[in-house]
């Protein structure tokens, strides 16, 4: 269980995370959603002890993250941050091997090799295993980093925007792997995603954040509702459904908003053109 109680983070005068209390039960996938600057990444980094908090306590699997030995914590919890700037020339295989570092301190056992190969295969990197990171695309690198934290083989897996730079196929593959990690291996997966629909389709539980606070925690059906999303993202979205999951349509303004916009849009402008298209469709 991940237990966050009364956690606050300030940068100077601005409060980025504001007295957040949260309990995430073990198992399943939890997605944290919210607008830019809602404090999602900051909260995730604090849970993973990469960032200190100004108030409150956090424990993961019963270990207090501020005083537990970092290596012990690394066997319990793996974290991948959003932007990973690694200037060193490391091969995919070597990078993934470092996922075993908290367990073996550098000495590989047969079991370690198995876990490494498995993680490489899961992230579809077998053909790239001896490629240097700086010779790969952003998406391939992202998969390599995720493979590394998978090889860490921890009970808790925290990923900030794991779908960063990934194409549709690899996004699906990534989410399927995370689903398997949660369902078959019983891992607790917490991800930050900006696409609410990925959260809706793949997560068991969604945490909605706004302005450093948790607005609501619930199942996709409880969270992906027009009123709640308007509150969280300040955008009107129509909600549809796909294979039983609520889907928010946010690629165009919802009809209500579009009507308002049409009032100010000049004819021939982009907004004008597509509100006209929407009207044609609804007619």
């Amino acid at each position: 269980m991940i237990k966050v109680s009364g956690v606050t983070k300030r940068y100077g005068k601005s409060v980025v995370v504001d007295g957040v209390s949260l309990e995430l039960a073990s198992g399943g996938i939890t997605a944290i959603v919210g607008a830019n600057g809602a404090g999602k990444s900051t909260l995730l980094s604090m849970i993973a002890r990469l960032l200190g908090s100004d108030a409150g306590t956090i424990s993961v699997g019963g270990l207090d993250v501020t005083n537990t030995d970092s290596r012990e914590l690394a066997r319990e919890l793996a974290i991948l941050r959003q932007s990973n700037d690694v200037p060193s020339r490391i091969t995919v295989h070597d990078l993934v091997s470092f996922g075993r570092f908290p367990h073996n301190g550098g000495r590989m056992s047969a079991h370690d090799r198995e876990v490494i190969d498995q993680a490489i295969e899961w992230m579809d990197l077998t053909a790239l295993r001896d490629r240097f990171l700086d010779e790969m695309s952003g998406g391939q690198r992202q998969r390599a980093f995720v493979a590394m934290v998978l090889a860490q083989d921890t009970r808790y897996l925290l990923l900030d925007e794991p779908l960063n730079n990934l194409d549709v196929a690899h996004s699906q593959g990534m989410l399927m792997t995370l689903r398997r990690a949660a369902d078959e291996l019983g891992k607790t997966v917490v991800i930050v995603v900006h696409d609410i629909n990925y959260a809706s389709c793949w997560a068991d539980q969604i945490v909605a954040m706004k302005d450093g606070r948790v607005v609501e925690v619930g199942t996709p059906h409880q969270i992906v509702r027009a009123e709640l999303l308007r509150d969280v993202f300040d955008v009107d979205m129509e909600i549809g459904e796909c294979a039983g999951c609520p889907i928010a349509y946010f690629y165009m303004p919802a009809m209500g908003a579009a009507n308002e916009m049409r009032a100010v849009a000049t004819a021939g402008s982009k907004v004008g053109a597509f509100t006209a298209a929407q009207q044609r469709r609804s007619a």
């Binding site: 990469l50 012990e72 020339r89 077998t126 295993r129 001896d130």
Partner: protein, 336 residues
């Protein structure tokens, strides 16, 4: 699957025992050549037909110590450069461009001014301490650089810092009539290496062994603070240990042989392009190439103006500078 099976062959060539044997044999040949180059006539044939007493003396007191010193200094300078580049996460740094070497010379100058009679190990210790302080200062300054600062900002800051420190030492040396002595220590030179005056260089082998033991940690640290912490590494402690080892290696080399520029810059870059940055995999080759490079420089230093010697630092500056320019113009150095 076929790509997976064939892809590794190119990289793994470096891990093959055959490659290692080849590299070591090449270095050994250079070392043997080094033993038989000098003003005093000494050839391999003499070795088998029996050496005269004078020749024995030259071999034991000068040639062997000199060759060993070159190998140790070259290997450890390349290793120190590699380690510093990984920990600072910048491909353009080495101890002699960030102020470490200049700071070590501050220690030597202080000891010469105030305790001129102090034994070499004490001078060395003080040089190591000032090298540590200088490196710490450099790290403090570059930590205050904005995160989006261009990649050359770090070496520029280093060059400025070394310039300031060098200006200070030059002034103090000038005011105390020690300028010539200062220049003599700073210019890397193996001519003064004789039995009984270089043995402290063996400490470099100890430094190398420590780096080898902690190689995995240093590589993990090179992934950056967040990733290293996520993997359970005590990031700060590891970086401090690594930079301390760099300072120790620089201090020792400076006191015994002086500054040999560019070794720590070009060797790690060439090795990184070839083998990548996993320290466990490339440290041996870095040491080997560093030793080979300085050995070649020293051989040139001894033969280019025979029977006189040119300081090895001059040769490595010219040779290394050319290689570095070539690397820059090849477009393979990171620009961001």
């Amino acid at each position: 699957m076929t790509t997976a099976a064939t892809a590794p062959t190119k990289r793994r060539a470096a891990d093959q025992p055959a490659s290692w044997v080849g590299g070591l044999v090449a270095l050994l040949v250079l070392a043997v050549v080094s033993l038989f180059v000098g003003v005093q006539d000494l050839s391999v044939r003499d070795l088998f037909s029996g050496l005269s007493e004078g020749q024995q003396l030259v071999l034991m007191v000068s040639r062997i110590p000199r060759t060993v010193a070159v190998l140790l200094a070259g290997a450890s300078l390349a290793m120190a450069g590699l380690l510093m580049q990984l920990l600072v996460r910048n491909r353009y740094v080495e101890p002699s461009t960030v102020g470490t070497t200049e700071s070590a010379s501050v220690g030597v100058l202080v000891m010469t001014l105030f305790f001129p009679g102090s034994p070499v190990p004490v001078k060395m210790l003080v040089a190591v301490v000032t090298a540590l302080l200088g490196t710490w200062l450099f790290i403090r300054i570059i930590r205050s650089l904005p995160p989006k600062a261009p990649v050359v900002a770090v070496p520029l800051v280093g060059i400025m810092l070394s310039g300031v420190i060098a200006a200070g030492t030059t002034y103090v040396a000038y005011a105390n009539d020690l300028l010539q002595a200062l220049n003599t220590w700073m210019a890397g030179d193996f001519a003064g290496v004789l039995a009984g005056r270089y043995e402290l260089l063996w400490l470099l082998a100890v430094v190398g062994a420590v780096v080898w033991v902690f190689a995995d940690r240093f590589t993990v640290a090179s992934l950056g603070k967040d990733m290293a912490t996520g993997l359970g590494l005590n990031y700060k402690q590891t970086v401090n240990l690594g930079l301390a080892l760099v300072a120790v290696a620089s201090g020792i080399t400076l006191v015994v042989v002086g500054a040999i520029p560019f070794v720590g810059l070009i060797v790690p870059n060439l090795i990184s392009m070839w083998l990548g940055d996993n320290l466990r995999r490339n440290i041996g080759w870095s040491a080997l190439f560093g030793a080979g490079f300085v050995l070649v420089c020293d051989l040139l230093a001894r033969t280019i103006n025979f029977p006189y010697e040119v300081p090895v630092g001059t040769i490595s500056g010219v040779l290394g500078g050319v290689v570095f320019l070539f690397l820059l113009l090849s477009g393979r150095m990171p620009t961001r």
